[in-house]
Amino acid sequence: MSAWFEMLLRGVLVTLGGSAVLSLYRLVRGPSLPDRVVAMDLISLQFVGAIAAYAVLSDVPGLLNVAMVLAIISSLSTIAIARYLFTGDTEVGGEEEES
């Protein structure tokens, strides 16, 4: 592995961490619950990408198993939370219940 390639991989990891911080801003700040769900989904997808880049950096192909499981779990949990929000009684702004 040449030197510029290793520096580029470290830059990729730093940039992914920065974009995860940008998503974390929305997770903390987001005014409603679906905002936080979308932000959490995006953070886990960015971590999947970071795990792939780190697998290239450390030359361990077994880390891609972790990436696959994390991607599947995050997407399916987003679908589960969407079902919960669709059938639940959560609402924004405290207006009256309608059928």
């Binding site: 990408g49 991607a71 079902r83 669709f86 309608e98």
Partner: protein, 116 residues
């Protein structure tokens, strides 16, 4: 040569992920932010996992990456659509300069319609 192809894929995917993060901060509305995550995160994940596939070119790695990419590309738009439907029904407010809201005429929602 393989390092150059890997670098191209990784930079492409990283720029996609950075674009998704910037969209999460800068866009004014839940539905627009969902646009940013569903597209840019799909492109970014495809670029990063494709870079890993090119860098470690063996049969098991290619199979694993292709499995992850197929599953992810199938699931992410479905999840975005389900979250958008639940949010619309919950009444998450739209951007105040939204002009078109056709779904409010057909679906019951608590969203403020912005139609005079």
């Amino acid at each position: 040569m393989r390092e150059y192809i890997t670098a191209f894929f990784l930079v492409f995917g990283t720029l996609g992920m950075l674009l998704a993060g910037l969209g999460m901060v800068r866009l004014p509305d839940l539905f627009m932010r969902m646009q940013a995550t569903a597209k840019a995160a799909t492109i970014g994940l495809g670029g990063l996992l494709g870079g890993a596939m090119v860098a470690m070119w063996s049969r098991s790695v290619v199979a694993l990456v292709l499995l992850t990419l197929i599953f992810t590309f199938a699931i992410i738009p479905v999840a975005a659509q389900l979250i958008a439907r639940a949010a619309f029904r919950m009444g998450v407010p739209l951007w105040e300069r939204t002009r078109e809201n056709d779904l409010i005429r057909k679906k019951p929602s608590r969203t403020r319609p912005f139609i005079d």
